[in-house]
């Protein structure tokens, strides 16, 4: 009887430890996503100023500017889940990157002090976003390892823990986002 109780106690302890470890990893993902969300919001907040500076000069990119503004409005809606936010960020980043490349065709814009200031702020934000995405992806990887590896995978399936989406880190971002360089090419 005593042996049974000891074994049951050990099993109980292992279950509690596995449960807590999984919950802690899940919460870590959520916490870091909150950090990602905060920097993404900063970028969305900066966007109206950038768009208004660009609108004066970039007549041919009117459609792109409109699309970006539309994406921003969608991203700013409340009630979006994490996956939707990530998908929007992905589209937004690609469009913004493309737009910044086309700034090259507007020399007067490149000389505008106000725009230069916005460009540098955006550059810094992109660095912060890149760091936040990397932190998020690492926490998701740790979480995925925990829900897939034995024996925590059994506990994870009982807890109905599911895989989470990773941010796609584009190659140019691996080399460090540097919007400044885009302008100086």
């Amino acid at each position: 009887m005593q042996t049974f109780l000891i074994v049951a106690g050990i099993i109980g302890l292992v279950i509690v430890l596995m449960y807590n470890a999984l919950i802690s990893k899940k919460n870590q993902v959520d916490n870091i996503f909150a950090g990602v969300d905060a920097v993404l919001k900063k970028r969305y907040d900066l966007l109206p100023s950038i768009i208004s500076s660009l609108q004066e000069y970039m007549i041919h990119e009117k459609t792109t500017l409109e699309k970006i503004t539309q994406l921003r409005s969608q991203a700013m809606q409340s009630g979006l889940d994490n996956e939707a936010k990530m998908k929007l960020d992905n589209q937004f980043s690609q469009m913004l990157g493309g737009l910044m490349v086309s700034v090259e065709n507007y020399p007067t814009l490149k000389a505008n002090e106000n725009f230069l200031h916005l460009q540098h702020t955006l550059n810094e934000l992109e660095e912060q976003i890149s760091a936040a995405r990397r932190a998020y992806n690492q926490s998701v990887t740790d979480y995925h390892n925990a829900i897939e590896m034995f024996p925590t995978n059994m506990m994870a399936s009982l807890m109905h823990l599911e895989h989470k989406m990773l941010f796609t880190i584009i190659q140019s971002e691996r080399q460090n986002v540097d919007v400044k360089n885009l302008f100086q090419k």
Partner: protein, 321 residues
């Protein structure tokens, strides 16, 4: 920054005359020390003979006592002789080489990085009993405020038999520089011994150590192989440790083959490079007139002063402009 190719010209034009004087001084000291050794051997033997003949001590004790007295007198003469030479050596070689590399830098042979700065870095949290250092270099390199010096930090420990001995916590180069990004959190980078020797178990043990914050796992496998990173903000640590900076740190480590520890605190970067020897001290047995000697000092100092360029710390982002 000055190139090695132009060092030879500088060596003959601005250093050689002073080096000749210093070399004569070195030869004079060596001759004096040799003479002292001969005299002390004779005096020591006479003293030993006197102690044995007078039956004050047994022969073994008499020999040990006289040897010790002779050695202490020799050390006194050595220190007395080398003090002036050391100072001249630093003025004529170290300072000149530093100014050849970057004339704007200020060299202070007597002082070092402050104890408070050493503590602020947070890299070493152990208690210590002796803090010493010298050869402080300060200035602005590519717009970046930089300070470095040699440091030697030791703790007095007792072994099982109660014997006291000095244990070194850090000996080498301590480098402080204004970092090109603003941050509020603390990030620490240490050489990774546990994970390299114990694998997954080592990594698990590292995650249990929370004295420097959480374990930060980075997405650069080579960097992870060499270093373990702790910090109190997962995102900000990665903001500091961009892919570019991680690569620069790996390159610096591979090039110099030294143990590195870094910390990022209060928007400053602290870098410790381990050297288990004195870096800018004269070696009496080596001639000063050999260019290779000067070249060695030049290469070491260029490497240190080049850290700002190497890590691209001059490329400031908007918030630090």
């Amino acid at each position: 920054m000055a190139k090695l190719s132009s060092l030879l010209d500088y060596y003959y034009e601005s250093m050689y005359a002073d080096l000749k004087v210093l070399e004569n001084e070195r030869l004079r000291i060596i001759a004096k020390l040799k003479k002292a050794i001969y005299v002390l051997i004779i005096l020591g033997m006479s003293f030993c003979f006197f102690l044995i003949q007078g039956k004050f001590l047994i022969p073994l004790h008499a020999f040990l006592l006289s040897s010790m007295v002779a050695f202490l007198i020799y050390m006194f003469i050595y220190r007395h002789e080398i003090a002036g030479y050391k100072s001249l050596f630093k003025d004529n070689i170290i300072e000149k080489v530093i100014h050849f590399i970057d004339p704007s830098l200020v060299y202070d042979k007597e002082h070092s990085i402050l104890e408070s700065e050493y503590q602020q870095s947070g890299i070493f949290s152990q208690n210590y009993d002796k803090f010493s250092g010298s050869d402080l270099v300060s200035g602005v390199i590519n717009g970046v405020k930089t300070r470095f010096s040699t440091l030697h930090v030791e703790e007095k420990r007792k072994d099982k038999d109660g014997k006291e001995h000095w244990y070194t916590h850090f000996q080498g180069l301590f480098f402080i520089v204004d970092f090109n990004k603003d941050f509020k959190s603390k990030t620490f980078i240490f050489p990774d011994f546990a994970e390299r020797s114990l694998g997954v178990l080592g990594s698990w043990m590292q995650s249990l150590n929370t004295s420097k914050g959480e374990l930060i796992k980075l997405d650069n496998s080579e960097f992870e192989k060499f270093f373990v990173v702790y910090g109190d903000d997962q995102i900000e640590s990665r903001y500091i440790l961009s892919h570019t900076l991680m690569e620069k740190i790996i390159n610096f480590k591979n090039k110099n083959k030294k143990n590195l520890s870094l910390s990022f605190v209060n928007s400053k970067m602290y870098l410790c490079v381990d050297y288990n020897k004195e870096l800018f001290e004269p070696i009496l047995t080596k001639s000063l007139l050999k260019f290779s000697q000067i070249k060695e000092y030049f290469e070491l100092l260029s490497m240190i002063i080049g850290i700002v360029d190497e890590f691209k710390l001059g490329d400031k982002i908007w918030s630090k402009r």
